[in-house]
């Protein structure tokens, strides 16, 4: 390379270096931007179907321009996968008919400044509801047939909602169970059990979806008892036999399977923890077993080393009732095989040594022949019904006493704990018991809030709903 070329290169580089140091005088043509604030007349919206959604939008801006804005209102399903969107309107004030299924949505309004092209947005929360989205479902029987009514959170009673949706068709006489309604993967499942049938209905309007045989690969003789739904584990109990399925599976047909082999008769009580799955009590072997819903098989608990309070694989007593207490602790209530002693066993099925406490209940009037039970999820308490009285069993104190007495002749037909599975921060969640009675030919539903001591607040009920037929079952339906 010649000396001349080198000089040219050096000069060019020097010019570039000097140019990079050139002071930027910053004499640009600055403009004030149009500052825009979107304001709506509503922030959180509940739409009760069938209805339309109206939202008025006002725009506060610092530099109004005749070009104005273009608008787009878009509704998204909250948490939906894949993301679902529907454009509701393209005018400033939204007015659109809502056709979405009940659920939680969010509404976005996009306002684009036509002059600058800058877009502004605002998000609103929308709950799409039906009159039947939330509330106590009440199964009533009259003239040899059953129907469903619902008590809404604002104490409105919707009557005969099943027959209204299903062209006048009623539920069979003796319909006795609507298992706790869970939501899995955005779908809320409602099963209705009668002595010789089990159906599934839509969560939005209780339209009948399927009948007993459709649940099974090989349907058994129908004698349904319970249907438990937890996470992706479904467990159905028919005449003491378990029929299960795991929803944690590839897409495709997924029905309830044949029961586990062996001579079992499973007690109809739900014990489920996320780490162990379903724990069931076999009344034949008088032992607890673990259920694998995928393989539809039962596994006994191993015998822990050393001397324990009791062994889940060898209880040797008759089960009265079992329920989850403070998760993962479970309580099971037994009577001995001579029907003259009562016991409460506390255990955690997920650990090597499951036994936690064993209590011989000394004084518990009416527990041996009790027919309805509800366990506390906070305290070592069991509520049970005998005759026209509700009792509270305090396990550590080993005693039970009536905490509410209805008028003589009252038949207590159902008793459930209020569990709001959607809004667990609900102050009444697990702290209110609903009781259905039959009094002088009339069905009634009472709400009993529970105080910190476990007794009913002020020793009485807070609300009562009347005018029902004979009530067979009550179940709370949470929002999806």
């Amino acid at each position: 390379m010649t000396k001349y070329s080198i000089n040219i290169i050096i000069c060019t580089l020097a010019a570039l270096v000097l140019a990079s140091c050139y002071k930027d005088k910053g004499n640009y043509d600055y403009r004030q931007i149009n500052e825009v604030i979107l304001k709506t007349d509503r922030e959180t919206i509940n739409v009760i179907l069938p209805d339309s959604l109206k939202v008025n939008l006002t725009i506060e801006q610092t530099q109004p321009n005749p070009a104005g804005f273009s608008f787009e209102w878009v509704l998204y399903l909250s948490g939906g996968t894949p993301l679902q969107r529907r454009v509701l309107d393209t005018t400033q004030n939204l007015k659109a008919r809502i056709t979405e299924l009940p659920g939680t949505y969010y509404l976005m309004v996009y306002a684009r400044d036509r002059n600058t092209g800058v877009e502004f947005q605002k998000r609103l929360n929308v709950s799409v509801l039906t009159p039947y989205s939330e509330g106590w479902m009440v199964v009533e029987e009259n003239n040899g047939a059953c129907d469903i009514s619902m008590i809404s959170p604002v104490d409105t009673i919707f009557r005969n909602i099943y027959s209204t949706t299903n062209s006048g068709e009623k539920l069979p006489a003796g319909t006795f169970r609507i298992p706790e309604i869970k939501t899995y993967n955005g779908d809320q499942k409602i099963y209705i059990i009668s002595p010789a049938d089990m159906i599934q209905v839509t969560y939005a309007d209780f339209r009948k979806l399927s009948t007993f045989n459709e649940f099974f690969w090989e349907p058994p003789v129908p004698k349904p008892q319970e249907y438990f739904v937890n996470s992706f584990d479904d467990m159905m109990l028919n005449d003491g036999k378990i029929h299960s399925r795991s929803l944690n599976a590839p897409a495709g047909l997924n029905k309830l399977n044949l029961p586990p082999s062996g001579n079992h008769y499973i007690a109809p009580y739900e014990l489920y923890t996320s780490s162990t799955g379903y724990v069931v009590f076999d009344t034949v072997s008088q032992s607890f077993l673990k259920l694998n819903t995928s393989s539809s098989s039962l596994t006994p608990f191993p015998t822990p080393a050393g001397t324990r309070l009791f062994y889940l694989n060898n209880i040797g007593k008759k089960l009265l009732y079992a329920e989850l207490n403070a998760n993962p602790k479970c309580y099971a209530y037994f009577k001995n095989n001579n029907d003259d002693s009562l016991f409460a066993y506390g255990f955690n099925p997920s650990v090597t040594n499951p036994d936690l406490d064993k209590t011989e209940i000394l004084n518990s009037p009416g527990l041996l022949s009790a027919k309805l039970f509800v366990g506390s999820r906070f305290l070592p308490h069991l509520y049970y019904v005998n005759g026209h009285q509700i009792y509270k069993l305090d396990i550590p104190a080993k005693t039970a006493a009536p905490i509410y007495t209805f008028a003589a002749g009252t038949e207590i037909r159902a008793m459930k704990m209020y569990r709001n599975l959607k809004t667990t921060t609900d102050p009444n969640n697990n702290k209110l018991i609903a009781v259905a009675t039959h009094e002088n030919g009339e069905g009634k539903v009472y709400y009993f809030p529970i105080s910190a001591t476990g007794n009913f607040t002020n020793n009485t009920y807070s609300k009562v709903f009347t005018g029902f037929n004979k009530i067979n079952e009550i179940t709370f339906k949470s929002l999806r």
Binding site: S5, E218, P250, L253, P260
Partner: protein, 251 residues
Amino acid sequence: MVKHLKHIYLPVFLILLVIACKKSELTSYTQPDMIYFYKDHYLTNKDSIVYSFAVKSNSLQADTIRIPMRIMGVAAGHDRSVHIQAVADSSTASPEHYTILPTTVKAGEFTTNLSLLVHRKADLKTNELRLLLEIAASEDFLPGVYHSASSPSMGGGSVRFPVRINDYLTKPLNWDTFMTFYFGSYSQVKYKLVIDVTGRTEFPNSGDDRLTPSEMTYFGKACAYYLEEYNKTNGTKLTDETGQEITFPLL
């Protein structure tokens, strides 16, 4: 020399720059038309087929096996023929056991199926015969992909395809990888029981007619219950061809 070089570099550099900016045209397929056996990764029998008359009706004397094929190149405006032949020194089946039916690729099509007619002969009761099919050059196609393994994202191909033919129960190709979870270890007696109970001979775990885990669990449990009842009724445990007691894992 150095002085001249800069006069060469600069124009060359400028020409390269201009060429780099030129839009490249799409190239078309310029190879001869070819065809190959297509291997769908998710099909159990993508690499070979075992055909057993034992799982068919006793009256069935011949059946047609279809083997998927794909072309390389573009579709033509007319039907084109494919030449398939048996590789004699790698086959034990004789022409009385099979007929290779004429195979054509229809106008406008990119795929076809080879149709192989297999005949039920007495010797298949005791012997499994092998037939190695091979794509030979024809007027329309040359043999295509000689061997390409399939993957989850891409199918494979080959110009040869082995077929085994028999008339006794043959262990399904996906027994050890899929069926074993529901039926346990293989035996001919167990497979016969499975066929009797479920009414099925094939249990695909891929493809459009694949079975779900839920349904396979049902089949497994149904077989276990059947065996339990069989053993109880007969007062003895059912054993397989080697004398081993038959069991099923799902109970």
